[in-house]
Amino acid sequence: MPDVCIGFEVHQPFRLNRHFSPDPKKKEKDLHALYFDELNREVLERVAEKCYLPATRIILDKLDEGFHCTFSFSGTLIEQLEKWKPDVLSLFDQVARHRNSEILGQTYYHSIAGCFGDKSEFVAQAGMHTDLMYDLFKIRPTVFENTEFTFNNQIASCVKKMGYAGIFTEGVDRILDWRSPHHIYSCNDLPVLLRDIQLSDDIAFRFGNQGWDKYPLTADTYAEWISGTSGDLVNIFLDYETFGEHFWKETGIFNFLTYLPEELEKRGVRTTLPTEALENYPPVGTIDVRDTISWADIEKDASAWMGNERQHTAYSAIQKAATFAKGKAIWRYLQTSDHFYYMASKYGTCGEVHNYFSHHEADDAFKIYMAILADFENRNIRFMKNKRSAKTLRTLTPEEAFHFASPSGHVGYAAYSLDQFCDLLQVVPADSIAYHQERGDIAQWIEHVLFDQKLATDISGITDRQDLISTLTERRKLLWSHLT
């Protein structure tokens, strides 16, 4: 009979201010209040009452009785608890220091930095998280859990290099083929613990579903299922908010949590911790993950954060913003995965899940994000060594962006920076480019929005797409060389 390793991801983002509008009078120290929503406190307090406090009290009792479980706390959550709910933090402190628990490493900002081409930011944020865990709990995590289980070969190599003993990710069929997720595998020499999707989702998604033929799920049935599996190790990993927040206490979720440890014990199923599991079970094979996987939606890939054009725009903008970020804190808050999650345009049940978690509509989420990022960069330009080049290369607000059109209306492409404009020139229809060049729109935009008189003159009158691209690219390279 396999051991079972149960883990919880505990995270709250700093949601962006839905009512943001630029306010040049605001000082640096007020930026946090300007960019992030008052709602954050409200949500935290609600989740604390409904989930963190009751669930953690149960878990503390169970840990005393010999139950083992694992927690992964994001840095942004900890900051919020310190500010608004210190009582929860002291409970988490007891959990973290308990001999039967283990704390995992992750990125401080619960960010998408693991997917960036340049991994230095990812490494920095993992380091910040370790420091935070040490400051609070005197613990240095040895096993890693990347944001929402996002994982690929490069992340594996990087996490290995940072010295972690292993990582959690999703037991996705397409990387396992016929193999069972109930073993440890290795990826680029890093041992990998794979989440059992079915058993995890039985709690995370199906628990409260009255249409499910196994409804209502009780702890004894669930323990029975686990004891009936084979292999070395079953990994169950859940959003901690499942208990009391996603499923309210009326659904019986707390009873389930209360009785699960003893039902498992009755059947001889041992609960274990990841470090122990890694010591007991060597990898039985290797996995090769070229395309990023995650635990999100049915696609189990990065599409929840990088699935549509809006998300791509924001994703490249935030990476570019590194150059503008004099103080890195705000820039890093803007890397939190949730901001990207809110911009998704998904249909069906996954779409409903995205909407449930979001405090605004997908298109608004994108516009607010870009407006805040643009404001942030704009404020930083005065610290940069070449202010004029920085001005031309900055990220633009939705109002400043270049929206491609034809005589009959918008064609559906928008450029939020000079870089993106160049990229889009490769794909927008030729007649749209011709239309704008005839009217002189592009030169106007470059002169009045990007403030580059020279470039505006250089490109006016160019009709060939390729000539336009090479003129712009040359200028863009030169301007970037002023900044780095």
Binding site: E299, N308, E309, R310, Y347, G348, S406, S408, G409, H410, V411, G412, Y413, A414, Q426, V427, V428, P429, A430, D431, S432, Y435, Q466
Partner: protein, 379 residues
């Protein structure tokens, strides 16, 4: 992966002389290959030789009194230019596209050569044999190319079988390497309601789109007859037919009592707007060697109803990313009705189509498949 020196021979390219879809297919393939290999592209053009996106272009300016002569002249100029660069570049693979540069293939036949059939003269002639001299000359060149090239590729299995049948190319010699697509060119963030309103269509009315030449092969007549049935159940459905061709007048006559708007030939930007605004793309072709419209619709995450023929048949998985029907009005009507009857499910099919594009039809994986074929040229 070993880096190869590759020479492309194609009479059109994206940044110089461009005639049709071949320009885009050959250029994008060359650019994707150039990420791992050294690619030189011999083609026509009236500008200085240049490098674009990693590909080095060599231009020639051919002359001739007819297409065949013109292409022979072009081929000879290409070979001259090739021989100038060859001592330095030491080309490993010579890749020819369609019949135009066959004379160059003839002169360079001792090298490692590969010929790609994007189409055949028979197919371009509407799947019929021709009896005039150009038809014979061009078919003859296609046959000869298939004979002397060390390896042949076709853009779909149907095309492969066509080439095998027409020109006796043996099965072992011919690989299938499909065309790729740049999906970003077709997916735009646009409010469908705005576009529909511009055409006098209510934002919530289901909009069905047909795009293509109005010729027998593309089956627009089947589509119009199918619509008669569809509209009996769905009075709110609206249809836009984009494209022009010999059958237009006849079709307009037939569709007089139907909610069909014939918009004729439209610029690319308008196509992008319509493609992203519509609720369903119908491809009623009787024959389709590859069917690029399918990839375009999928790129825009649109569901498709298409006839179970050619490349469409190979690529669509029914009820997973589209619906395949028989090339007849009743069957088409059923497919269209099923799709617009369940718009939420239809959107899911469209998204899965995009997923298939992202997994299988981006130029990078296609270039990898081509590289596999290159590896087999010598063997």
């Amino acid at each position: 992966m070993e880096s190869l020196n590759v020479a492309f021979f194609c009479w059109e390219s994206l940044y110089a002389e461009r005639v049709g879809g071949l320009a885009s297919a050959a250029t994008r393939l060359a650019e994707a290959l150039a990420k791992n290999h050294n690619v030189h592209f011999f083609t026509r053009g009236w500008m200085q030789d240049q490098e674009i996106n990693g590909v080095s272009y060599h231009y020639c300016q051919p002359q001739g009194n007819n297409t065949v002569q013109y292409c022979e002249n072009m081929s000879n100029q290409m070979v001259d230019q090739f021989q100038q660069s060859d001592p330095q570049e030491k080309f490993d693979i010579l890749h020819f596209h369609d019949w135009h540069p066959i004379q160059a293939l003839h002169r360079l036949q001792d090298r490692e050569t590969i010929l790609t059939f994007h189409s055949t003269e028979y197919g371009r002639n509407g799947n019929q044999y021709g009896d005039w001299w150009e038809y014979k000359e061009i078919s003859g060149k296609e046959w000869y190319g298939g004979l002397v090239a060390k390896k042949v590729t076709a853009v779909s299995t149907v095309m492969k079988h066509e080439v095998m049948q027409l020109y006796n190319v043996p099965d072992w010699k011919c690989d299938v390497v499909p065309n790729g697509i740049v999906p970003e060119q077709y997916r735009a963030s646009i409010d469908p309601g705005d576009v529909k309103r511009a055409y006098g269509i209510h934002p919530y009315a289901p909009l069905i789109l047909f795009i293509g030449r109005l010729v027998y092969q593309k089956g627009p007549d089947l589509f119009i007859e199918a619509l008669r049935k569809v509209c009996r159940d769905r009075w709110d459905a609206k249809v836009i037919v984009a494209g022009d061709g010999g059958m237009r007048q006849y079709l307009q006559e037939r569709a007089r009592d139907l909610p069909v708007n014939f918009v004729g030939y439209i610029p690319d930007s308008e196509y992008i707007r319509l493609l992203n605004a519509c609720d369903l793309v119908v491809i009623p072709s009787r024959n389709e060697p590859f069917g690029l419209v399918l990839l375009e619709a999928w790129s825009a995450e649109k569901p498709v109803v298409a006839c179970d023929v050619g490349g469409l048949s190979e690529n669509i998985d029914t009820f997973i990313n589209g619906i395949k029907v028989q090339p007849e009005p009743e069957s088409l009507a059923w497919g269209i009705g099923t799709m617009i009857g369940d718009p939420v499910h239809a959107q899911v099919l469209g998204r899965r189509g995009r997923t298939k594009v992202d997994r299988q039809f981006l130029w990078n994986p296609i270039a990898n498949r081509m590289t596999d074929t290159y590896a087999r040229v010598g063997g």
